[in-house]
Symmetry: C2
Subunit: 332 residues, 2 copies
């Protein structure tokens, strides 16, 4: 375990300067303070004693709306705070972007602000801070991301395999046999996971896996325009969209092309965004209970704060059946 | 929600008789009481009001030693109680067998004893109570078992995929390419999961999957006798055993056949039983932290008690490298 002496030796400054840097004293330069903190993180210096003065956690959020009720991030944050605050934690919400991450290493950011743990929302695989989680010793809970082998990091999410198993079973009961998937590109942990869940579920129920039944694309509207009618013409009778926003776009695309839902084609989403109950027809989808995700995130954080090395907490993901799915149309 | 009236109507007895049955009064026959409880469970009657008089949980344990420190069940129970008792729970440990399960339905047993939740250890897929977990509304946490879609049941265990990924990577670093698996029959959830984890890990690292590299057998000694030398003759340079007891048997079998560990063949276990540090050579294995499993079991129970529908909590499973693995021998 590195000491203040080690940091001082490495930087060639006095012990008292290092101490000032770690304690946010104002009589050293900002540049020197940053150097001290970076070196402290690099050497694995633990300032638990310093940090323990205050029970502070942060929720770091990117690519996710959270300002008004019912927005995805809002309800997750609400659930987390509902559990954390009665336990005596202060919870700060920190919206960031990639530029922010490039300017300061994660460990330095956490140490500088005295946070004892972070709940990370909305990160993709290419976020600059992601590699740091492989070795970080600060407890962090990642929503819909997974870091192998680091006992200080846990993952929380909904069990998308269970979600896809239910979707496929539901569609089978309606006589569907050719089932397509429209998804964003596989650049995030969760889209990869849902893609695998689709393949596994087809395989489990002995349905055909065919690359023509899969459509990936970055732009939502473009990819539904490209794939919905194409899949219909292939004899596909049901399309699963990897998230609700794409499913809603698919509904619009069906209307444009004169395809009736569910008579001509069934559409299924994933997430259960509030608006999906009010689409025409209302969308069959898999529910991610957002408040429960936040609460589960706090349970995971409690485990890590108590040195219990959990890797993941998975929530149930129930299928919500609405009007966008029905019996398969007759095909040749 | 069923009421006392519904139970009375179904059985054709008075409301006060039903009430006596639910309250463990002594002035009705044991047979009638059992009938009342069974009907209550069947109709989904919730006696939360009655049960809430006392915060009682039980740990139901089968096929697992737990009486002395370091035994598998002992440490799991210890971890669970360490968390539950300070929270005000009384925790009873109930050793059972299949006969016990056949004599009384799970729901009746729980209701009769006023337990608000159960932590289930050591069950196999063929245990008589297993089907009840599909629809039970009483919070239960199952160690190394998984029940789909029931929001009242959660699973806790070590992440065996992460464990096998680490084993295969470790063996690859030592130059092993043909890697065998010796396992019990795939009659339990966890042996199935480890079998899949072995296949997935080989596939992930582009290694050959070959049914001749796999040996399944109920009797530990018989199966190591049958498979260890056979695998060696096939050019296999490392054998993974699905649990430590088999790995220890494999070490004995190697000695009997004059095979040196690790020079001629590497052996890997799974579980990190205390004795594995003292075998000759000491065993490389994946650690299941037993006390942590018990603590994680209680975290999962807390979630369920608070209506948070988690499906699983997975612990990290670190690889413990000891002397039973080394560089692969030269093969043709």
């Amino acid at each position: 375990m590195a000491t203040i002496n080690d940091i001082a030796a490495k930087l060639g400054v006095s012990k008292s300067t290092v101490s000032k840097g770690l304690n946010n004293a104002t009589d050293i330069s900002e540049e020197m303070r940053k150097k001290i903190l970076e070196t402290a993180v690099e050497l694995g210096y633990s300032n638990k004693r310093l940090m323990n003065r205050e029970k502070k956690l942060c929720i770091i959020i990117e690519n996710m709306d959270y300002n008004t009720p019912n927005q995805f991030g809002h309800d997750i944050i609400l659930g987390f705070k509902q559990m954390a605050e009665p336990d005596g934690w202060t919870v700060d919400v920190i919206p960031i972007d990639k530029e922010f991450q490039r300017n300061i290493p994660y460990g330095v950011f956490m140490m500088q602000n005295g946070y004892l743990g972070a709940f990370i929302l909305g990160f993709s695989l290419i976020d600059p801070w992601m590699p740091e989680f492989k070795s970080s010793k600060i407890p962090a809970v990642l929503y819909d991301n997974y870091i192998s082998n680091n006992p200080h990091i846990a993952s929380v999410g909904c069990d998308c395999q269970e979600g896809f198993d239910q979707i496929i079973k539901h569609l089978l009961d309606f006589g569907h046999r050719k089932i397509g998937l429209i998804s964003g590109p596989l650049e995030s942990y969760i889209l990869k996971a849902r893609y695998s869940a689709y393949i596994n579920a087809l395989s489990k129920y002995n349905l055909e896996i065919n690359e023509d039944y899969i459509g990936l694309g970055y732009y939502v509207t473009d990819s539904t325009k490209e794939h919905v009618k194409r899949m219909y013409d292939l004899g596909i009778t049901a399309i699963i969209c990897s998230h609700d926003v794409r499913a809603i776009s698919a509904i619009t695309e069906c209307r444009d092309k004169g395809l009736r839902i569910p008579e001509d084609i069934s559409i299924v989403g994933f997430d259960d965004l509030p608006m999906t109950a009010y689409t025409d027809p209302p969308l069959t989808t898999v529910r991610q209970d957002r408040t429960a995700l936040g609460r589960a995130g706090y349970y995971a954080m409690s485990c890590l704060q108590n040195d219990l090395p959990i890797g993941s907490v998975m929530l149930r993901a129930p299928l919500i059946v609405r009007g966008s799915t029905g019996p398969a149309r007759k095909t040749d």
